[in-house]
């Protein structure tokens, strides 16, 4: 385990220097912290390096560390099918959270990132189709944020809800909706 650990660490530090911080190995996963603007480059490097080949993106998820700052976090879990290694990349994000999308590296990131946008309001820049996925279009607020009221906001239909207006995202309603994926490329 230590051999693979030092290999991964060395290769990453050779390429990125001090920018990527190693967070250690626990429960079968190597963890690294990356600044958000390096994420696409780092993922492409991990995927394409012949000794690493982390070619399978297991999961992308958002985390809300309210009331800590920086508040948000995007967590990527990668798996290497040839080497059978797992790696976790964590990016702390400020408020409002923004991070480049990795849909250009793996197509599977598409829905994962839409989910993180829907639930945490993390804006994945360069995503081809960043719409809500579980909640309906026009829903206000991001339900998995820690400050989202568990019983809704108080109004005449909901006397037990929390005080205060729902958080709004002004460009949500007016944003142009891109088209979905194509099933049949050619006729």
């Amino acid at each position: 385990m230590s051999a693979e650990m030092s290999l991964i660490r060395t290769l990453i530090s050779e390429r990125f220097g001090e920018a990527i911080e190693a967070l250690g190995f626990s429960h079968g996963v190597h963890a690294f912290a990356s600044p958000p603007d390096l994420i696409v480059e780092l993922c492409r490097f991990l995927k394409e390096h012949p000794a690493l080949r982390f070619n399978f993106l297991s999961d992308v998820c958002g985390v809300d560390h309210y009331p800590e700052t920086p508040r948000y976090e995007a967590v990527y879990h990668l798996y290497s099918l040839p080497n059978k290694w797992r790696i976790r990349i964590k990016c702390r994000l400020g408020d409002p959270p923004r991070i480049p999308s990795v849909t250009g590296v793996w197509r599977t990131a598409n829905w994962h990132e839409r989910e993180a946008w829907d639930m945490y309001g993390i804006r994945f820049e360069g995503h081809p189709d960043l719409r809500r996925i579980y909640m309906w279009e026009g829903f206000e607020g991001f339900p998995q944020r820690k400050d989202f009221p568990l019983r809704g906001y108080r109004d005449k239909l909901n006397p037990f809800g929390a005080e205060g207006p729902p958080p709004t995202e002004p460009d949500l309603a007016t944003r142009e909706i891109p088209q979905g994926g194509r099933l049949t490329p050619e006729r």
Binding site: S58, V75, L81, W111, G180, G181, R182, L183, T184
Partner: protein
């Protein structure tokens, strides 16, 4: 009809056509739940597909943040409701890793045996439902007959047919009941012949083959790029099974083959599942042969209820621990874990961040169906609307798991 069109069409001009927007679902038998597909059709050709999901969204991840670890088990049941034991197992393993404990060997065998029963139950449904989507009703009815046997077995162990919630952190809830072993042996004897029946029913059925062979081909490279896992990935020729490659529980003591098919079409995905049921039967038989006697729960009164209830009645300390455990649950040390198992649908992962309290700070479910459903974008040669039904059926999404 033709006469009218002829009349309306001006001399010398081509017939005026336009693309049709079709809503398939959310209530449609072939979507296996509440999936809505917005299809842009040009005649019978599908030009574009846009899946709308979330009709069954219950906020499992958000709910889990206010539940204790033991209370979360029933939530995991309701992810992939065709195979609750494997969901329970995935969650239990993640928490056990955080706690740094392991279930006793007997409990591990029971869990693996139940997870494999669940795998058969899940695969049975889709091996029957895919032909039904394509018009062959018979296979589903036969599959349901065998699924009923599994339901009976699960009911015998847990008392519940569907939402078993049988795993606990550090073991299982109870030991196997008396009279269970002959029942499951009987099932293991009968079932391989029944699999042969399904094969005979469908593998030479010309209509079924026409509708599935060469339809919805996903190449191995595309499958990895799209994040497919489980039988869907192996049907595209990628040899990856978490049970073998990252063995959890007692899978490293068992012998089984990882079924792969090179074609990557709907038939290969159907075939992979049929073969996997055979392997599952082999695993169950080995579990029964190897299962040792012993405890079925860890002996840690702060984590699991004591098997011997007398202790609670006689010792003050045991009573306090019992009360604490029922009222507040158990604290899990700070840390984070990503733990994945090979669920029937693919890689089922739980990413848990603990802040040291009895409730998870964040629980993310990496639901295989959610990722597999995305592959509808990646299928290159399903051109007809009818083919898309076959592709959807063969990808085997369970909407409860997609929507979490």
């Amino acid at each position: 009809m033709t006469e009218v069109t002829e009349l309306e069409r001006p001399e010398g001009e081509a017939l005026n056509t336009r693309e049709v927007l079709l809503n398939l679902g959310p209530q449609h038998p072939s979507t296996h739940g509440v999936l809505r597909l917005v299809l842009e059709l040009d005649g019978e050709y599908v030009e574009r597909v846009d899946p709308h999901i979330g009709y069954l969204h219950r906020g499992t991840e958000k709910l889990a943040e206010s539940f204790t670890y033991t209370q979360i088990f029933p939530l995991t049941d309701r992810l992939d409701y065709l195979c609750p034991p494997s969901n329970n197992l995935a969650f239990a393993l993640a928490v056990e890793k955080l706690l740094g404990i392991e279930a006793p060997i007997r409990a591990q065998y029971i869990r693996v045996m139940m997870a494999e029963l669940a795998r058969i139950s899940g695969h049975l449904l889709i091996t029957g439902a895919l032909p039904m989507d394509l018009g062959a009703m018979t296979a589903l009815l036969y599959a349901m007959r065998e699924r009923e046997m599994i339901m009976d077995l699960l009911e015998m162990i847990t008392g519940a047919r569907m939402h078993t919630s049988f795993c606990r952190v550090g073991g299982v809830r109870e030991d196997l009941p008396d009279g269970f072993l002959p029942k499951i042996r009987e099932f293991c004897d009968i079932f391989p012949n029944r699999i042969r029946d399904y094969e005979r029913l469908l593998e030479n059925n010309r209509v079924f083959l026409k509708r599935t062979e060469g339809i919805g081909v996903i190449s191995g490279e595309d499958a990895v790029d799209l994040g497919l896992s489980g039988p869907n990935l192996r049907a595209s020729g990628v040899d990856w099974d978490i049970r073998r490659d990252e063995p959890y529980e007692i899978y490293d003591r068992l012998e089984f083959n990882v079924v792969t098919r090179p074609e990557g079409d709907c038939y290969a995905r159907w075939r992979c599942r049929v073969e996997e049921m055979r392997e599952s039967i082999r695993i169950i038989e080995q579990c029964l042969d190897q299962m040792p006697e012993g405890p079925f729960q860890v002996d840690m009164p702060t984590i699991a209820f004591p098997v011997d209830k007398e202790r609670v009645h006689c010792s003050m300390e045991a009573l306090i621990q019992h009360f604490d455990l029922s009222a507040y649950g158990f604290a899990v040390p700070r840390g984070e874990v990503y733990s994945a198992i090979e669920a029937p649908k693919g890689e089922l992962g739980f990413y848990i961040i603990s802040d040291g309290s009895p409730k998870p700070f964040r629980m993310k479910v990496r639901a295989p169906s959610f990722v597999n459903l995305q592959a509808l974008f990646g299928v290159s040669n399903a051109r007809y609307l009818a083919d898309m039904i076959a592709v959807l059926g063969s990808l085997d999404p369970v909407m409860a798991e997609v929507d979490k």
